[in-house]
């Protein structure tokens, strides 16, 4: 085909326009990021430096809210308890999710997809419904107590299951597990089968193959699963509210209280920003791990 005038022009324009078009491609995502994420965060950050006196927000920069966090004995213990609980939840999710993902990915021959779907299906049900469902399981006349009673393990219904940190812990694991499962499963699926053949061929039994080949190569999935579970557990306030009782209160609840009940937005913003910083640090650290382990990308 002979080059027509328009194709010639296109060729001419391409060199000049490449830079401009690259910028245009970035515009929608940048706008979206700014409008929905960066600007709100900045507003929150600025608000967190204001103070509230009576019912008036004083727009003067001060560190009073952050001081409050460190001085008021309510905040720090609950903050650390939340951190530890989130850590425990994500560790337990990994410990439960890894064997599950490993079984479905490597050991199960038939009904693999069905099993995968079974793990994923809870994600289709409303978050709130699933949490309320846990009340019927853990409650005084719940499924768990009924079973234990009928098995004559206990004489009267136990009330330690619900309205305790334990209930929050269990429910958070339940929420986080599918995400952990998916990310570990995907990283296991990505490992080429011939690497396992090679390991066996070079003298590694199945235990050594797992330790030296499968586990290191699935680490990116473990780390991203851990990050997801941690962030989910760290920020959740519905589960503590529904299942936690007084002792199960988490940092998220404190933030909600400031915004929703105390109408102290500046303090709520400061508390929120502290948690946001922790989440970002965790994300950055795990990204660092994740990228150096991402061999199969």
């Amino acid at each position: 085909m002979k080059p027509t005038l328009t194709t010639k022009l296109n060729v001419k324009a391409r060199g000049r326009s490449s830079f401009v078009s690259k910028i245009w491609i970035g515009v929608p995502i940048t706008t979206w990021l700014f409008l929905l994420i960066i600007i709100p965060i900045c507003i929150m950050l600025v608000t967190s430096f204001y103070t509230k006196e009576g019912s008036v927000v004083i727009k003067k920069i001060s560190l009073a809210n952050y001081l409050e966090f460190f001085i008021n004995p309510i905040y720090l213990p609950i903050f650390f308890r939340t951190l530890i609980l989130a850590l425990l939840v994500s560790l337990t999710s990994i410990l439960l999710g890894y064997p599950l993902a490993y079984l479905v990915s490597r050991k199960v021959k038939c009904f693999r997809n069905q099993l995968y779907m079974l793990v994923i299906v809870p994600l289709w049900v409303s978050y709130l419904v699933r949490i309320v469902a846990w009340r019927t399981i853990l409650g005084r006349v719940g499924v768990l107590n009924t079973i234990l009673l009928s098995l004559k393990i206990i004489d009267e219904p136990l009330s330690i299951f619900i309205y305790s940190p334990f209930a929050v812990y269990v429910a958070l694991i339940y929420i986080a597990l599918p995400y952990v499962f998916i990310s570990i499963f995907n990283s296991l699926e990505k490992i080429p089968k011939n690497l396992l053949d090679a390991a066996a061929d070079l003298g590694a039994n199945s235990f050594h193959t797992f330790i030296h080949v499968i586990l290191p190569l699935s680490m990116p999935g473990v780390i991203s699963g851990f990050t997801l579970a941690f962030v989910i557990a760290l920020g959740d306030y519905i589960i503590p509210q529904q299942l936690g009782g007084l002792n199960g209160m988490m940092f998220g609840n404190l933030i909600v209280t400031q915004f929703g009940y105390a109408y102290n937005w500046p303090l709520g913003a400061a508390l929120g920003f502290i948690m946001f910083t922790v989440a970002v640090v965790i994300l950055l650290v795990s990204q660092k791990f994740g990228s150096s382990e991402g061999f199969l990308e």
Binding site: D197, D201, G203, L217, F295
Partner: protein, 378 residues
């Protein structure tokens, strides 16, 4: 091979995947220190055979012996054979050094005492100084050599190579063929080499086993395979071959005369027994055929088979020309060097001649024989 000690023995091996039979009744005996090739088109069962020797597949029937010991149901990690995989299968999360250390670590060799062995393996494949790199930082040929070093470092009884050069470009492949052959001489380890490239098999092997559809067609030295193929499949798969179909018109004690499109062709070599009137295929290598303008007495004395044909096609191939001649419905190809070509043109009437000892005749009805046509594309 002077050393006839049997290293690997396959007895009546059959492997089925569901209803599909990948390997059928394979019997093999591979000697110590031999460079043994399994050659065949894709899907012929050569890789499955290799994987059964490695222990990565379990045979459905039969027995595998390694140095006299029955290893049929021994898991791969306990067998003293190592495989070089087609796509190298280097561990991406380990450096070159760690990759080579892996088989030693599995044998509980301490890193301090393994260092010398790793260095030796690296120098064997000419990759000294690459120990700290990751596989992703190496080229295809370099990865290939590291895979080789990793498989050789603990000195297995046999090294199994599954089309190791398949992913490399032509020049690198030729270079690696030499490297492989040199290494094999140096380490005195039995090499079993799977390939679909007949040139590779012929140039490198001590013996070749030609397979098709899970069945062994012929086992022999490259010379035997090339010059005395036992079936038309082997004849077509190894090197270039003319197939002339015709009927037996005369059957003598040591020779047979075949009528191909009205031309009598005498052949002294044949596989199987046949009688007058049978449909047969006469095979002749293109390089065994001569072409002349004149059919003088010298030409007639030298070549028992000689007749006239016209040039149908000429293909220039760099160092030589491939000329296709036609007589009746039959075509015959031959090779002529550029210096002898002498401006021949399509349509020229010329005489072709070849000796009766160079013609091999096969029965056409024989099951083994009929598949040559479908395999010409290999």
């Amino acid at each position: 091979m002077n050393n006839q000690e049997t290293e690997i023995q396959l007895i009546q091996i059959t492997k089925k995947f569901g209803n599909f039979t990948a390997v059928q009744n394979v019997n093999l005996e591979i000697h110590h220190g031999e460079f043994f090739s399994l050659l065949g088109p894709s899907g012929c069962g050569k890789t499955t055979t290799l994987r059964m020797i490695a222990g990565l597949e379990e045979p459905t029937e039969g027995q595998i012996c390694l140095a006299g010991e029955d290893v049929t149901y021994k898991p791969a990690y306990l067998r003293n054979v190592n495989t070089v995989f087609q796509d190298y299968a280097l561990f991406p999360h380990m450096t070159v050094e760690e990759n080579i250390y892996f088989p030693l670590k599995m044998k509980k060799v301490k890193y301090s005492s393994a260092r010398a062995m790793i260095e030796e393996a690296l120098s064997l494949v000419n990759m000294t100084g690459f120990g700290k790199r990751y596989p992703q930082q190496l080229s295809g040929g370099q990865r290939q050599r590291i895979a080789l070093a990793r498989s050789l470092v603990n000195r297995p009884r046999a090294l199994l190579l599954d089309e190791p050069l398949g992913a490399l470009d032509f020049k690198l492949r030729i270079a690696m063929q030499k490297v492989l052959k040199d290494i094999q001489k140096n380490v005195d380890i039995t090499f079993i080499y799977v390939t679909h490239d007949q040139t590779e098999a012929i140039t490198m092997s001590d013996r070749i086993c030609v397979m098709k559809d899970g069945v062994i067609h012929q086992i022999g030295t490259p010379d035997e395979i090339y010059n005395s193929p036992e079936s038309t499949f082997v004849a077509s798969f190894i090197g270039d071959m003319n197939f002339l179909e015709g009927q037996v018109v005369q059957k003598g004690e040591n020779s047979v005369t075949i009528d191909v499109d009205g031309k009598p062709i005498i052949s002294t070599r044949f596989e199987g027994t046949f009688s007058k009137g049978d449909s047969v295929v006469a095979c002749i290598r293109p390089e065994k055929i001569c072409l002349d303008k004149m059919c003088d007495s010298e030409f007639q004395n030298k070549f028992e088979n000689h007749f006239q044909a016209s040039i149908h096609r000429i293909v220039f191939r760099g160092t030589d020309y491939e000329i296709t001649l036609k007589f009746g419905q039959s075509e015959i190809r031959l090779i002529e060097s550029a210096s002898e070509f002498n401006n021949k043109k399509i349509g020229d009437q010329l005489f072709i001649g070849f000796q009766k000892d160079d013609v091999i005749t096969y029965l056409k009805e024989c099951k083994k024989v009929c598949d040559y046509e479908t395999n010409l594309d290999n």
